[in-house]
């Protein structure tokens, strides 16, 4: 996206109140330049990042399409730092024409030291726009910083895939959910798969078949176990399955869930050939002989359906473009504005499947 005419302010050894004052002046200057410049007021995004990886995070934030936060506050953690440096910018995608308005967005990068993190709220609080939701995202850890921001944030943006220990990731998500609305990118990666499973069983004659599901296999990128577990957790929570921990079986994790009519075999199969995060495919079988597979493919999901009792085999493409990592982050920012009441039960069920 092309941005035009960024307004810029920088300072060394500064304070939150000086940053806030500078931002007000920048906004005022921008408005004086053209009354059509209008600040977006949707949500604040507070990112806590390691300084050495801040460029990568900036690239990810640039790739979210239209789903920008109104005010992004990046707390860039630098070892050894004891004072605050800051850069504030106001950007707009275009210049307003006569009678038009052009949205502006603010970005504040504050260089902080590890010693600041336990009380990061005292730095961030003066910088957030009040009366709109504040989202906290700490892709490089820093739990003490997240903890200090609980008071002023409403939403925690996480990616359970980031944590090498999936069980810890799920426990942390549950802990955050005690006081914050959690938007988990690992969960958002399951959206197309959930939509398609829901659609498959939506025709009224097929709805009773949900009770006959006898096995589910989820194929996933090796690091994306959390997404696969959340998908199984979703099925378990929606269909009232009682799950036991999954156990290693070769490369896979396997186990079972107890459903009303029969047990359901559950398998998580890592797909080593998959480079990008997320799910590669899934297969659902029913006791009545139906088998549905969905796999990533060009132009959408490649679907295969068979019913061995009736000798039926079909395949087709379920249309849809890949959202990419930028799209997932953009969806996460949008999801921060809504409440997803299905995630927590799915998370809870997923937690029972890991030791």
């Amino acid at each position: 996206m092309t941005t035009v005419k960024d307004s810029l302010w920088t300072a060394h050894e500064t304070t939150p109140s000086a940053i806030e004052e500078a931002l007000r002046e920048l906004l005022s200057e921008r408005h004086a330049e053209h009354a059509g410049y209008t600040p977006a007021r949707v949500l604040n995004l507070v990112c806590i990042v390691d300084r050495e990886w801040s460029g990568e995070i900036a690239n990810r934030l640039r790739s979210v399409g239209d789903s920008h936060a109104s005010r992004t506050i990046v707390c860039s953690v630098e070892p050894g730092r004891t004072s605050l440096d800051a850069v504030a910018t106001i950007a707009s995608d275009r210049e307003p024409g006569p009678g038009e308005f052009a949205l502006t967005r603010e970005t504040i990068v504050v260089n902080v030291g590890p010693g600041h993190l336990a009380h990061l709220d005292t730095i961030v609080d003066p910088l957030v726009v009040t009366d709109i939701p504040t989202v906290v995202w700490a892709p490089h850890g820093h739990p003490e910083a997240v903890e200090s921001l609980r008071r002023l944030a409403q939403v925690a943006l996480i990616d359970s895939i980031d944590d090498p220990e999936v069980s810890e990731a799920l426990v942390r998500a549950r802990s955050l959910a005690d006081s914050l609305h959690v938007v988990d990118m690992a969960w958002l990666r399951t959206v197309p798969w959930r939509e398609r499973l829901a659609a498959t069983f939506d025709p009224i004659p097929l709805r009773p078949q949900l009770a006959t599901i006898s096995s589910v296999e989820v194929r996933h990128q090796p690091d994306s176990v959390a997404s696969a577990l959340l998908l199984l957790g979703w099925l378990a929570s929606r269909l009232d399955w009682h799950c036991s921990p999954l156990l290693p079986s070769g490369d896979d994790l396997t186990g079972s869930a107890h459903a009303h009519r029969q047990d359901v075999t559950l398998t998580l199969a890592p797909a080593r050939e998959m480079q990008v995060r997320g799910l590669l495919g899934l297969t659902v079988e029913t006791a009545s002989g139906r088998r549905l597979s969905l796999d990533r493919g060009p132009g959408g999901l490649h679907a295969e359906y068979s019913n061995y009792r009736k000798g039926i085999e079909r395949s087709w493409t379920v249309l849809g473009a890949s959202r990419g990592e930028g799209g997932i982050l953009g969806n996460a920012i949008r999801a921060a504005l809504a409440r997803d009441r299905i995630y927590l039960p799915a998370l809870q069920a997923a937690t029972t499947m890991v030791r």
């Binding site: 308005f101 009773p208 473009a321 299905i342």
Partner: protein, 510 residues
Amino acid sequence: MAVTTEPENPLTAGLERLPVHPTALVVFGATGDLAKRKLLPAIYNLAHEGALPERFYLVGVSRGELTHEEYRELAVEAITSFSRRPPDPDVLEHLLEDIRYVSGSFDEDRVYSSLAAILGEFDGKAGQPLNRAFYLSTAPAFFPVIVGLLGAHGLQHSEGTDTEVRVIIEKPFGTTLGEAQELNRKVLSVFDERQVFRIDHYLGKETVQNVLAFRFANGMFEPWWNRNYIDNVQITAAEDLGIGTRAGYYDSAGALRDLIQNHMLQLLTLLCMEPPVAFSADEVRDEKVKVLHAVHAPTLDDVDDLSVRAQYGPGVVAGEGVRGYLEEDGVPADSNTETYAALRLSVDNWRWAGVPFYLRTGKRLARKLTEIAITLKPVPHLAFRENADGVRPNQLILTMQPNEGVSLSLVAKVPGTRMTMAPVNMEFLYGTAFISQSPEAYERLIMDAMRGDATLFTRNDEVEAQWHICDPIVAKWEATPGPLPQYGSGGQGPAEAERLLLPGDHWRAI
């Protein structure tokens, strides 16, 4: 008596996009401008977002002699040119890989036989009977022809299956009350009303739907949303452009039929309706129809007092000289078609009695603008009599385009030692408060039609009630010879519009 209930699908809870039954969509007029500019790009964008039904098939029907492959190429070109996002080649390829084209005149039986065969083939391919949606994007004269032949070939229902067949009909739905009634009779002799989706694409716009949210999700407006507090209402749909290359259509339609009879009366209904019991198709439309029935339809004798028409003359727009309507290519030099129409209507019910509703639309006006302006009555007593120059009645402005939002004009004290008043605006712009992901109106409407949700479509009694209001005006204008008053392009419209205003009222500047 045993009561059977359909089993629920617990997997749909919390999904942003609910499943839609596998569908075959047939577009009549598949090579026309609307199909190329709006429908095909909308279908592509739905595919891109994964919103189309899991099994989806597309059939084009038109007079042009094209093969399936040639139509696929036409669709690729249309989508590439007009989609709101660059198409993903893989999605595009899969969307169009099974596309079919039926060539022929809409009154030929063989067209419908071919169509039936293709739809049967698609059912077989999907392994299940598909829902069918017939989109009539043709000249209105073909609507009854197509509907009749769909019925004659048994395509209006899907015997022995639980699938749905729907027909989506583009505007204009008739050009007079008589035509609309006749078309309704024809359509409803073949389809049930629940199968019929009459498009008014304005209703698919987010900002139009927001009128309902604004009124019925905020408690603060309802106490003064009535004749006791509201002085007058102005609904404006102004365009800065002329007719462009649409002389053929526009000269036979005119501003009244093009915008007032449908879009602007729809805005009026949303503004005036009582709160529906639920946001369901019939609950909402029942309330809208009540408003239309309450609108005083002008008699032939009333028309001159309650309406104004005019044509744009030459003028200057954006610093450049432009031609008048009668000099436009394709427009007869003696045309009496109005490019500007304004009405003063009244809604004769308990809530709105005595409040004038001014509707105006025109081409080649000062700028592009669609808004509803609600002017409140002045305060009953003003204590600041000596410094009251800046005091104006409050106005609430709902802007649909170009800057979607809500603005409330207030009166405030000018900073200083004296008690001087000045109007100020409290503004809310939708774009500043949401992360914008608004679908195009056609995307929303196509999905709603495939899903069977008729809330944003016009019902038979609604369209007839709209015509009941406009028919006398059409009749009077057609019977009255020209020439029509002219207004300068790039301006505020004809001076004649002033005579519609009741004493003390003023047109808002466009």
